[in-house]
């Protein structure tokens, strides 16, 4: 039974429908059409786009590449972020300055930073090879070899998003109870043992949250690849987001790119759910 108070929910419901449900439903509809550069409109071609997707090796290869890239970047971000958070957790001289400094990369615009990093890695004119040459290394093919380009993208991702991990983990550390540490100190536990048996387990829930959030973000990597490598050399750094961008906005294959986007969304939801469950099981010891 509708009551007047229910109408107060309408603005929120309308907003929800407009910005989430409509685009999603529209994308589903578009994915069953042949909307392309030569044919605009919502005809119905059944699941032809999805069949094509299963045969699209470039898409599946980009997914595999993204898995490796995400695993490496998020692991490095977690380890470095945790280390930095531990470093400024206790009251150290200049702690506030360090906290602000650590956050600077995260607050910069990814496209702008990618342009700057591309300049840094420029093999003829960039400072990276200049500095390395002073110690007799190089020139390193940062962006012109497959492995170099992959590593370059990883470096930029780690540089830009480690502060995010640092911020979440520092917030977690600050909110930890003091009693377990007092008990560990009374028992004479070493700092290493205190970390592994007190800090790390207590931080497990927030660690899982931070890792999942970063995995979601890492799976959408686009601007860094777009600016630094355009997915190359060859297809060495092509990620699904960049590939969908090419198919959708460069090639204007609107129907097919909608199918790619939805398939990618479903795959990400399934994969991240499984990863979250596994992390909960191994780090916290329970499934939920």
């Amino acid at each position: 039974m509708l009551k007047p108070k229910h109408f107060f929910l309408l603005p929120a419901l309308i907003t929800l429908a407009a910005i989430i449900l409509f685009p999603l439903i529209f994308t589903v509809r578009v994915s069953f059409s042949s909307w392309d550069v030569f044919q605009a409109g919502l005809d119905f071609i059944g699941g032809r786009n999805y069949v094509r997707l299963f045969e699209d090796t470039r898409f599946w290869e980009s997914l595999l590449r993204l898995s490796g890239m995400s695993f490496i970047t998020v692991t490095l971000q977690y380890v470095l972020g945790f280390a930095l958070a531990l470093a400024v957790w206790k009251n150290i001289t200049g702690g506030r300055v360090f906290r602000v400094l650590f956050l600077v990369p995260m607050m910069t615009t990814p496209v702008v930073m990618s342009v700057i990093w591309r300049t840094v890695f420029h093999e003829s004119l960039g400072p990276a090879n200049d500095l390395l040459s002073m110690i007799g290394i190089g020139p390193v093919p940062w962006l012109s070899s497959a492995s170099g380009a992959f590593i370059s993208v990883v470096i930029v991702e780690v540089w830009q998003w480690t502060p995010f991990m640092f911020l979440l983990l520092l917030a977690g550390l600050v909110s930890l109870p003091r009693e377990p540490y007092l008990a560990a100190a009374i028992d004479g536990a070493s700092p290493t043992r205190t970390f592994w048996q007190v800090t790390f387990p207590l931080m497990a829930p927030i660690s899982i949250g931070a890792i999942i959030i970063r995995l979601i973000e890492a799976s959408k990597i686009m601007d860094t690849v777009y600016v630094m490598t355009s997915g190359g050399p060859g297809t060495a750094t092509e990620t699904p987001s960049y590939y969908i961008y090419i198919r959708g906005l460069r090639d204007f294959q609107v129907g097919y790119s909608a199918a790619l986007s939805l398939a990618y969304l479903v795959l990400m939801i399934i994969t991240l759910t499984i990863i979250a469950k596994l992390l909960m099981r191994f780090l916290v010891g329970k499934d939920d």
């Binding site: 093999e123 940062w142 012109s144 997915g231 050399p233 297809t235 204007f252």
Partner: protein, 512 residues
């Protein structure tokens, strides 16, 4: 000097156009708009000044500043001041330009009256564009446009793009090195032959290889042989077309360069293209460090900045090298793209040998403009484009490298004009001769101006990039491209593509 230069421009224009517009420069002073002087022409300042578009708004979409975006903004401001019109401009980065134009077209919106875009998109945009009215096709400026660029603006016999730029790929090289006896000796010792401007791509690769990895200009920095646009999604497809053209475009075989127009079978994996790609892959050893990731901007600064001996692509690197503050100013020359002595004959399925290298000038895509069919201000829109490209504005824009406006009229191929900018006679002569001779070639190659050109070029760029990165052999990579092209043909429809491709084949086969 400046007055002499202006006088020279006026004389060139009058002589070259051969048509004097009824409207001459009036007594009004138009120099306040930043030009040296108003020049005779159908849409000169005086003629446009006589128009009144007060209360009307002209919506324009164009590229980001500076390339084409800056002259658009400049001439829009002048147009608004002269006519009283309000002009709204949207500047869009190149990567977004296609979809920003296409989405309103497809959804039936009348978003923009005037559009500036890459001329090869005509295959996708043609059904949304208004034909250029006779009053403008017979204008003084238009009668001076070269036949090839009129052809680029024409679709099914009707002009639907308004020419305002001319582009082609040609070879640029360092004359100070090629003419240096010490370098000539070094080359002869290494190869046993005299150093000369490369006439084939094999020679190009050989020269580039010899002049890579040492400081041949004495500035203390290592130099390299070749700067090329090799970054996958940064116009590399055009570089590949330049390299493959002389091997795949047989002067005696018509009926399609990218496709056999009769069957719409892709020719992209035929031996001519494969040979071009193999040489492209081989050339990487002569690139500067990071050269395989060079976009157009990197190529411009590598050659224009004196790092590399040779380059080829659009005008920009040459213009950059000829800037007043360039340390290699007047040490560069222009020449036709290298050719091939072995050319694949797809009719006989054999390689044909040529004593003189086969040349296949690539009239690559450049900027073009058009008026939307849905525009309610078509007269004002065409007046704007006619004004944008009037004689005074065009000569002004040609002098500013970053504007991206390159020669497209017969009057632009006058060495005296470029010498007036401080170019040495030899440099100016080599430039205008190279460009004007391309207009005379009967074996030119044009872009694949068909619906879905973005899909075809994106697929080709990916295949070429795979070969360049060593992920696949040249043949395997192009076989993959051919498979993708066949799929695209199936999706778009062979008949639809054939009808569109006929426009390209007519140009290539010199059938008007």
């Amino acid at each position: 000097m400046k007055n002499k230069f202006i006088g020279s421009i006026s004389a060139i224009t009058i002589l070259a156009t051969g048509i004097l517009s009824p409207t001459f420069a009036s007594a009004d002073d138009y120099t306040k708009h930043g030009i040296d002087a108003d020049l005779p022409g159908t849409c000169n300042y005086a003629a446009i000044d006589a128009k009144d578009y007060s209360g009307k708004t002209l919506d324009i979409i164009t590229h980001a500043i500076p390339v084409i975006g800056e002259p658009t903004a400049l001439h829009a401001k002048q147009f608004a001041e002269l006519t009283g019109a309000e002009v709204d401009i949207v500047h869009v980065p190149f990567g977004d330009l296609f979809q920003r134009i296409m989405i309103p077209f497809q959804s039936g919106q009348n978003a923009y009256d005037v559009l500036f875009y890459a001329s090869l998109w005509i295959g996708d945009f043609n059904r949304f564009l208004a034909p250029v009215p006779e009053a403008y096709t017979s204008s003084s400026g238009m009668s001076d446009v070269t036949d090839s660029f009129k052809g680029v603006a024409t679709w099914n016999g009707q002009m639907i793009q308004y020419p305002m730029d001319g582009d082609r790929h040609y070879l640029k090289y360092r004359t100070d090195v090629f003419e240096n006896p010490e370098m000539q000796t070094l080359f002869k010792k290494a190869t046993g032959r005299d150093l000369s401007v490369p006439a084939t791509w094999e020679e190009y690769n050989e020269v580039a290889k010899i002049f890579s990895g040492f400081d041949w200009d004495g500035d203390g920095e290592e130099n390299f042989g070749s700067a090329e646009v090799a970054k996958r999604d940064d116009l590399m497809f055009s570089a590949f077309i330049s390299r493959a053209a002389p091997y795949a475009k047989h002067p005696d075989v018509g009926g399609g360069f990218f496709f056999d127009i009769e069957t719409m079978e892709p020719l992209i994996n035929t031996p001519g293209f494969v040979r071009g790609l193999e040489l492209f892959v081989e050339a990487q050893q002569s690139f500067p460090p990071g050269g395989t990731n060079f976009g157009l901007g990197d190529e411009i600064f590598s050659f224009g900045g004196g790092q590399t001996l040779m380059s080829y692509s659009w005008d920009d690197a040459f213009i950059q090298a000829q800037q007043e503050d360039s340390r290699i100013r007047n040490s560069v020359g222009a020449a036709p793209l290298p050719g091939a002595k072995e050319v694949w004959n797809r009719k006989t399925g054999q390689w044909d040998s040529f004593d003189e290298p086969n040349r296949a000038p690539y009239m690559t895509w450049g900027w073009s403009s058009a008026v939307s069919k849905a525009s309610k201000n078509q007269e004002m829109a065409f007046d704007f484009l006619c004004f944008f490209s009037n004689e005074a504005n065009t000569f002004h824009d040609l002098q500013i490298g970053r504007f991206g406006v390159n020669p497209y009229r017969d009057s632009h191929f006058d060495s005296a004009f470029w010498q007036g900018l401080g170019w040495d006679t030899d440099v100016a002569d080599s430039y205008v001769t190279t460009l004007s001779e391309m207009e005379l070639s009967a074996n030119r190659v044009y872009d694949l101006r068909v619906p879905g050109v973005g899909q075809f070029m994106s697929s080709m760029a990916n295949g070429v990039a795979e070969a360049m990165a060593g992920q696949k052999s040249a043949q395997e990579a192009l076989d993959g491209v051919a498979k993708e092209w066949s799929d695209i043909v199936d999706r778009i429809g062979a008949d639809r593509l054939r009808d569109a491709y006929a426009n390209v084949v007519r140009l290539e086969d010199n059938e008007g």
